[in-house]
């Protein structure tokens, strides 16, 4: 006999949950948005970016990996937690070259959208590292600009677990860690996007881009032009 459903609270709101659900899964179903960058529907949870950090029972945990538990008291949208999240996002900006004004992902970019949601309205307080990595445009259909990579590992998980190709992976350690491909360049991998491969589609920023479609979506019709990131989930609650 399976364990019975239960409830817990996020910021005082009662959230129904099923056994095995993470805090984020239960929150999403209940229409409560917990910010996240590395988590993506259909990919295994990783808890890497820590933007989904919440206080659960007084401990800081990643909501995407932490299982919900009966009567758990979770803090999500507090000033303190959102400041920590904003610091994390600011550090992502300072690590890469996130030049929104000229980036084709602008308006569809989750990092940019998260910065807006977290009220990051100006330059970060951190120094910019300004990486200078060559763009890999050798593949006929996709290009890789790792200056914009936030090391979310979505492409790696999608390539390994969903596409079963292992095209993308990390090289280097610590601050030098970055996404690379299993060949001399993209052209020498099987990063084909003509099948059902999703690794090129899960990138939250403008790192992996489809060739020839940049800026084809008019301003005003892009994903985040009409609402904050997470408003789709929060909309469920209003319904």
């Amino acid at each position: 006999m399976s364990d019975p459903d239960f409830t817990f609270t996020i910021d005082g709101t009662t959230i129904p949950a099923k056994p095995g659900q993470t805090i984020m899964e239960a929150a999403d179903a209940a229409g409560v948005y917990i910010p996240r960058l590395c988590d993506h529907e259909g990919l295994r949870h990783q808890g890497g970016c820590r933007v989904c950090t919440v206080k659960a029972g007084g401990r800081s945990v990643a909501a995407c990996t932490q299982p919900a538990a009966p009567k758990l008291v979770v803090e999500n949208e507090t000033d303190h937690i959102n400041k920590l999240r904003r610091d994390l996002v600011e550090m992502l900006f300072h690590e890469g070259n996130h030049l929104c004004p000229i980036c084709e992902a602008s308006g569809n970019c989750e990092l940019q959208a998260m910065a807006y949601r977290l009220d990051m309205t100006g330059p970060t307080k951190f120094p910019y590292l300004e990486p200078c990595r060559a763009v890999d445009a050798s593949h006929p259909d996709i290009a890789l600009d790792t200056n914009r990579c936030i090391s979310c590992s979505r492409c790696i998980r999608a390539s390994q677990d969903v596409d079963h190709k292992g095209v993308f992976g990390y090289v280097g350690r610590g601050i030098h860690r970055r996404v690379a491909v299993n060949g001399s360049d993209l052209a020498h991998t099987d990063a084909d996007i003509t099948d059902h491969a999703i690794s090129a589609d899960v990138c939250p920023v403008g790192c992996i881009i489809r060739k020839g479609v940049g800026f084809a979506t008019p301003i005003g019709e892009r994903e985040f032009d009409h609402g904050l990131i997470g408003s789709d989930i929060e909309g469920k609650r209003r319904e």
Binding site: P101, I102, E104, A134, V135, G212, F215, P218, I219, G220
Partner: protein, 483 residues
């Protein structure tokens, strides 16, 4: 005998970008040399290399905050060629033209009312605190209101076609990313009659100033030169978006005509001088001394056979009558020419708004990739050339930009020297009002120094005066908003 002096005007104000003027006075207080220096370096031609071709129209428009549409469209035209597209779908070309006419209109209105009008209304030597748009509005509230409303109209057109008033994304290689909804069209049609009347009134103001000050206009920074622009290939009509290149000498004689602009490098070369980041283009066959030329509104009035909108064409005939059809060499006549173009843009916008192609859905064409593309457009300040090479992986390997203000470099330097000699030579005491005369001459070209150096600009001007030994003896630095 007085000591030799060096006067420095730094920065030059009410222009876009950052520049300075140096004036060398000898021991007799005579002007030996006067130069406009562009002191900022930007390097777009270099750092665009290695970027992807469809990013280019969006990146290079950041050269400028006043006429980004010009760079956006010139780059898009070049990328059309690279993507193998020789003819855009009608909706795409007309949406781009609409964007461009809105852009030229708002830029010209900004220059005439906000930047130049204080000089024209209050006098070149008026107190510095008087020479700004706020005093214009205080003096003539209705004129100020119209200036703001006309510029807004142009910017709204840009927003409707590019998504934003500044730095939008409308043009993409091979086409456009949107059409014009009926309700947006109707919003513009509701005010187009006002725009036409106000454009005609502005034209009358510029024309009246020019004719009432004919002696000043005739001598102030005026000199013969060659003129160059694109014109409509079939009949030589004014065409701000597309055409073939035409260059005339100061008598109206043809230097070249019907030149496919992809061959621009066969006719134009760029000279480099150690004291400026801005190059000096000239017509190759005439050499640097005789081959320099001017571009911009007055150059276009000189090169165009006619204008294909009736009100602007009548205004062109009126302008040409002053010189009996010969090219007009008066620097200050640029303001008159600029207002003719505003009227032309309003007429063109009206025609386009009535064209159902703007509601079409065929927005983008494709073709067979090429390695090289050149896009040329008539920007508000004159001819604009974008030239790119792209490798087989869609990455830019070469970029050459010749912008309007660069074309006018020699002309502006000659205007600076002409005015300096006439107004500063023999003067023991150099006043701020005298120095503003030099800025007025520069302003008449509506220069965009940011574009021309490919500078984060507040467009201030600096004037320096050196003695005969090259020692700086006086410097004037003016901040934005001051004279």
């Amino acid at each position: 005998m007085a000591e030799p002096r060096l006067i420095e005007i730094s920065p030059v104000t009410r222009v876009e970008g950052h520049g300075k003027v140096t004036i060398h006075l000898n021991a007799d207080n005579q002007v030996d040399e006067a130069r406009l220096h562009i002191v900022e370096f930007r390097g777009f031609e270099r750092f665009i290399r290695g970027r992807l071709l469809w990013e280019v129209p969006v990146i290079v428009q950041r050269l400028c905050g006043i006429c980004p549409v010009s760079h956006h469209l010139a780059a898009a035209k070049a990328m059309d060629v690279i993507c193998g597209v020789d003819a855009l779908p009608p909706t795409a070309e007309k949406m781009r033209r609409l964007m461009h006419y809105g852009q030229v209109m708002q830029s010209h209105v900004l220059h005439f009312f906000h930047l130049a009008a204080p000089d024209l209304l209050f006098g070149f030597g008026a107190p510095a605190e008087k020479r700004n748009i706020f005093e214009v509005i205080k003096e003539n509230p209705e004129l100020g209101r119209r200036a703001i409303a006309m510029r807004k109209f142009g910017q709204d057109i840009i927003e409707a076609t590019a998504g934003k008033k500044i730095h939008g994304t409308g043009a993409i290689p091979g086409g456009i990313n949107r059409n014009l909804p009926i309700e947006t069209r109707d919003r513009f049609l509701a005010v187009i009659d006002d725009m036409q009347v106000w454009a005609q009134d502005a034209l009358a103001l510029a024309r009246g100033y020019t004719l009432e000050h004919d002696h000043l206009v005739a001598e102030f920074g005026s000199f013969p030169s060659n003129y160059m622009s694109i014109v409509r290939e079939a009949d030589g009509a004014l065409d701000l978006y597309h055409g073939t290149m035409r260059a005339l000498n100061s008598d109206g004689g043809t230097i070249f005509d019907k030149l496919d602009y992809t061959r621009y490098h066969e006719k134009l070369v760029e000279d480099v001088r150690s004291w400026s980041y801005m190059k000096f283009p000239f017509i190759k066959e005439l050499g640097p001394e005789a081959g320099w030329y001017r571009v911009g509104p007055l150059a276009r009035m000189n090169t165009a056979s006619f204008i294909d909108t009736p009100l602007a064409n009548a205004a062109l005939d009126d302008l040409k009558a002053v010189t009996a059809g010969a090219p007009n060499n008066s620097t200050l006549a640029n303001h008159w020419a600029r207002m003719i173009e505003v009227l032309h843009c309003v007429e063109k916008i009206r025609d386009l708004l009535h064209d159902p192609d703007l509601q079409g859905t065929d927005l983008r064409a494709t073709g067979v990739r090429r390695e090289e593309g050149i896009g040329v457009i008539e920007a508000p300040r004159g001819n604009l050339i974008h030239h790119y090479k792209v490798d087989e992986n869609d990455m830019v390997t070469y970029c050459n930009l010749i912008v309007s203000t660069t074309h006018n470099n020699e002309g502006m330097n000659r205007a600076v020297k002409d005015v300096a000699v006439k107004h500063l030579s023999g003067q023991e005491r150099i006043t701020e009002g005298m120095l503003n005369h030099i800025e007025v001459a520069i302003r008449a070209y509506d220069p965009c120094l940011s574009c021309a150096t490919h500078a984060l600009g507040q467009m201030p001007l600096q004037v320096e005066i050196f003695d005969a030994a090259g020692t700086l003896i006086d410097s004037r630095q003016q901040t934005s908003g001051q004279g």
